[in-house]
Symmetry: C2
Subunit: 605 residues, 2 copies
């Protein structure tokens, strides 16, 4: 099926929007009237620009408050329509959207609405244009799709059909099954948008909080199935009004939009994509740093050992059990200071995983960086983090990413008696503020992970949001975080949480090896004492080691933090098998302690 996107869904000038839509692979666009009015290009040139970009102009929507109005008002409307149909001819748009009237002049008279729409359709027909009549959820007298269809049916004009919009239908809780009763050839257009489930005024909800299908809580795929069963064969077109997208760059937003539509098409069975290959674990996390010293000191204190070095690049492998950290000091370190640049995901079929990512528009990275390297499948996530699909010790048929690493014999071998991490529990990545929803959709669609609920976390200087994506077994857990606004994203560090069997022993060993834990205020422990019962001395132990505690219905969670190096810090985590969270209850205390630490360093420095 053809895909289309409304220009209002993207930011920038009209030409920027058209370019972004074309590059993301859309077949057509809906041109929003304000974008045309504000463009220095005349309609004919816009048409030519679209043709050059391989885009059709699928819809134009210049008309409001058209039908069921007094005669003199309707005469003015027809005059306006005649002008606009002329513009559409130059623009090469053959379908015009007419939304149900919200005018205070509107008359509650379906036969008047049908007569006037019939008259409008006759005029449109003279210009070779079709009229698609749509029920706005907040229309004055017509607000449901079946009502709009009854009027279209009564009008009985070949150039008049209906336009269906997933937001208007689903936001009102209308039963979408009735769509199947509409003859497919009378469904002139289908607009798609999702939205988070917010209990709020529907007009505000629609204007500010729409999102791409799969990012919200509406069953857009369910609606599309009904529309396809009705026999609709026009484009699937995204029309999304969203305050954040208005500020984000058009290029990435258009790609996210197309990805969302591809996933929707896959869900309803009109597009076949390579199956998702769900990763089963974290093979490694890769830090880039201009200065390996502080990172090495931290990893050593955490109980990891430097065991190997890449044979062609300045990359060290640190490990203990299945916890593996790469430390990259090469010039490829693109980011400022120390940061988390890549994640290796243990994949049952790395090449198939990369094929799906590619089909879902993730930028695929070169399989080899150097001729002698083992080929590695990798893609870039929306936030720039590189995701490697790899195999670790899974037999001769799957290349092991460690084959490029040469053991370091000079340093001490890992001490088996030393308490330390066994594997990565989770990774926390800070997203650009305008890519929170996109990030979750990407990780769901590309990696086949499951997205948990978003939680709000109070930071002393703003409200953060965090949402985890996981596989079914908890082998891969990634927490996607974002600040409340485009403030300084770098304030909120990334982190790597390492799973330990005994956080008390691990924290003691870390301290004994010279590590510093993030200081947690005594008041926090007084509150723990009030909220939970502990064994004798347990709380004092936690207090002495800066260990935090949380509990849900499934069990307990004990964790402590290291100091931050660059943009990264580590967490040691002891998780009861049934505990599902990430200690979000403790995050405000952690964030305040990190701010206090930064301020102290600033004062000292």
């Amino acid at each position: 099926m053809r895909t289309s996107i409304a220009t209002v869904s993207l930011s920038g000038s009209l030409t920027e929007k058209l370019t972004a839509a074309s590059r993301a692979g859309f077949d057509g666009v809906e041109i929003f009237e304000n974008d045309l009015l504000a463009s220095p290009l005349p309609p004919r040139e816009i048409r030519a620009r679209c043709a050059d970009l391989g885009l059709t102009v699928d819809l134009y929507q210049p008309m409001r408050d058209m039908e069921a109005v007094p005669d003199d008002e309707f005469a003015r409307n027809l005059r306006r329509a005649r002008h606009k149909f002329g513009v559409m001819g130059e623009l090469g748009a053959d379908t015009v959207l007419v939304c149900s009237s919200v005018s205070p002049l509107g008359i509650d008279d379906d036969s008047l609405a049908a007569r006037q729409l019939h008259r409008l359709a006759s005029l449109a027909q003279d210009f070779g244009i079709r009229v698609a009549y749509e029920a706005l959820a907040w229309g004055r007298h017509v607000s449901t799709y079946d009502h709009a269809w009854r009027i279209v049916e009564a009008a009985g004009h070949p150039a008049l059909g209906t336009c269906l919009d997933s937001f208007h239908i689903l936001s009102r809780g209308s039963d979408p099954r009735g769509v199947e009763a509409i003859p497919g050839e009378k469904i002139f257009f289908l607009q798609l948008a999702d939205a988070p489930l917010l209990a709020m005024d529907v007009l505000q909800w629609s204007r500010h909080h729409r999102c791409f299908p799969g990012q919200g809580g509406l069953d857009v795929a369910g609606l599309v199935r009904h529309v396809l069963r009705a026999g609709y064969d026009g484009p699937l077109s995204l029309e999304v009004f969203n305050d954040v997208f208005r500020q984000a760059e058009a290029g990435p937003t258009a790609v996210d939009a197309r990805r969302s539509l591809l996933m929707l098409q896959e869900a309803v069975g009109v597009v076949e994509l390579p199956e998702p290959v769900v990763p089963t674990g974290v093979a490694f996390a890769e830090l880039v740093t201009p200065d390996a010293e502080p990172v090495a000191a931290l990893l050593g204190a955490l109980g990891l050992s430097r065991t190997a070095r890449h044979r062609g690049k300045p990359v060290d492998l640190w490990e203990r059990g299945e916890a593996r950290i790469l430390v990259n000091t090469g010039p490829a370190a693109r980011r400022d200071g120390t940061g988390l640049a890549a994640i290796g995901l243990e994949s049952p079929d790395p090449q198939a995983a990369a094929r799906r990512a590619d089909a879902l528009l993730a930028p695929v990275l070169p399989r080899r960086r150097a001729p002698e390297d083992t080929p590695l499948d990798a893609v870039a996530a929306p936030d720039g983090t590189e995701l490697f699909f790899c195999a670790t010790g899974r037999g001769p048929e799957l290349a092991d990413w460690r084959d490029d690493f040469v053991p370091v014999t000079a340093t001490q071998a890992p001490d088996p008696a030393r308490i330390g991490p066994a594997r990565v529990d989770h990774l926390a990545l800070t997203q650009p503020w305008h890519q929170y929803d996109e990030a979750a959709l990407f990780h769901r669609g590309v990696l086949g992970l499951h997205a948990q609920e978003s939680v709000d976390v109070a930071d002393p200087y703003g409200l953060l949001r965090s949402r985890a994506v996981t596989d079914a077994d908890g082998g891969v857990r990634i927490a996607l975080g974002v600040g409340a606004a485009p403030a300084d994203d770098t304030l909120h560090a990334q982190h790597i949480a390492l799973a330990v069997d005994d956080v008390v022993a691990a924290a003691r060993a870390f301290r004994a090896a010279g590590g510093s834990t993030l200081p947690i205020p005594a008041n926090y422990y007084d509150d723990l004492a009030a909220r939970h019962e502990f064994a004798d001395g347990e709380l004092e132990t936690y207090r002495g080691l800066d260990i935090l505690y949380d509990r849900d219905a499934g069990g307990a969670f004990r964790h402590c933090y290291t100091r931050t190096v660059g943009r990264v810090f580590f967490e040691l985590v002891e998780r009861d098998p049934g505990y599902r969270g990430y200690g979000a209850h403790n995050a405000p205390v952690r964030l305040a302690a990190q701010h206090a630490g930064r301020q102290a360093r600033r004062t000292a420095g």
Copy 2:
């Protein structure tokens, strides 16, 4: 009456919050539990810090889901309460807030709730503490203030009273008159918050969108009158959860909060402030610029003449009729590039106006900058713009600000035949993104202006909001604008709109004198032709001169824009007397044209 503020209303660490509250003149604070838990200071030190800052600790709120729960749960709650009462003793807080339970364990049994609250109050009494029970608007079984009061009355314990909260009462549409039936001594606490009138889930509304009294749409003053009539004599305490305030600096937010409370106290008659002195016109607008050349060229083309120069400072007066612009090239120009730094407001009583501003915590600026200057009353608005209260030619009893200016005889006198502006129509000021509501409240409270509705304006790169404050006669009109998020505020320029009798003649004269108008796309005029009927040639005239057109029920508005110099541009405005707006309908086209101009300059440069 004493005033107080909840620490959750301000950003930063607990000590930053306390300092801000003290400096803004609050008498006390409510300490929010998370702020205490995250603080490295033990409760005793927090108490000492508050005492040093002249603050009492009026309330502590550590308890949730306390009452009407099964016995074993209540036993745990009492254990928790005992811990917290101990902390409160150290903190010096004698009132604890207990919100109505939202627990799924909660039992719908008022007598059980009353028995358990009686038990809790007895325990509290042992610690010298009072329990204030409050109905949360989304409480599971108790959600209205009268219901909470019935339970408190039934419990009948001297250490148990009720806490009233304006948001919880007014957001549900409860009739606040019933408050007067509660004995004043049983109202232990009063929390105040306003909120914009949003139709949305009350919990989300409360957690993210509360604001200070007068910034929203709730009748907070009306509620306070009822509470005072009931005999309440405790503090008026602000408890505001707001995503924006969480990110804004604590100091200015605390001042805004106190100003809001002062205006509320004035409204209910418990504080007397100097009467507002409403300005009657714009005496001047002052531009600062490092380079007078481009500004002088622009003003000259607009038809203003340089008539005088300040006798002690590098400030020129440009004028025509009552339109007066000061151009300041002195080192006091604190801003980067060319910007609007000050506004002279024609004031019936400048000194009284400054007294009110001072009483409402506006920073008062020195009356004289140099010994020989005429004294001038001035204050700083929240965005840093200096507001001068002045008189222009109003007789010997009021000093004329122009007395410090010496006529410039060398230059040409204004040509009376030249078409040009007659006065300032309006000024548009860009506010820091987190001060939109504060700015409107400031201009209402300090200047006695009326605030119009906020309107959304689509910019190609985000959604802007704009709200005008005006006097009754339209002598002073200030449009306060803000971007949707803390993006680059400077992108959205300030502007000065000059009123002309005939915008066509004025635009022609401006062009003839070498001025360039902002180019408006032809598509805009095609749309005008579709929407309105014009006399023969009228539209072509507008198109030729880049004049935009708007119309409301009261009349028409014709306007055009100059190119931008630094952060400032000018608008020429012909306003029918009945037209109330500012051409917001045309703003998206204007913003797109300005972006296009910037991009063209970047490409060229």
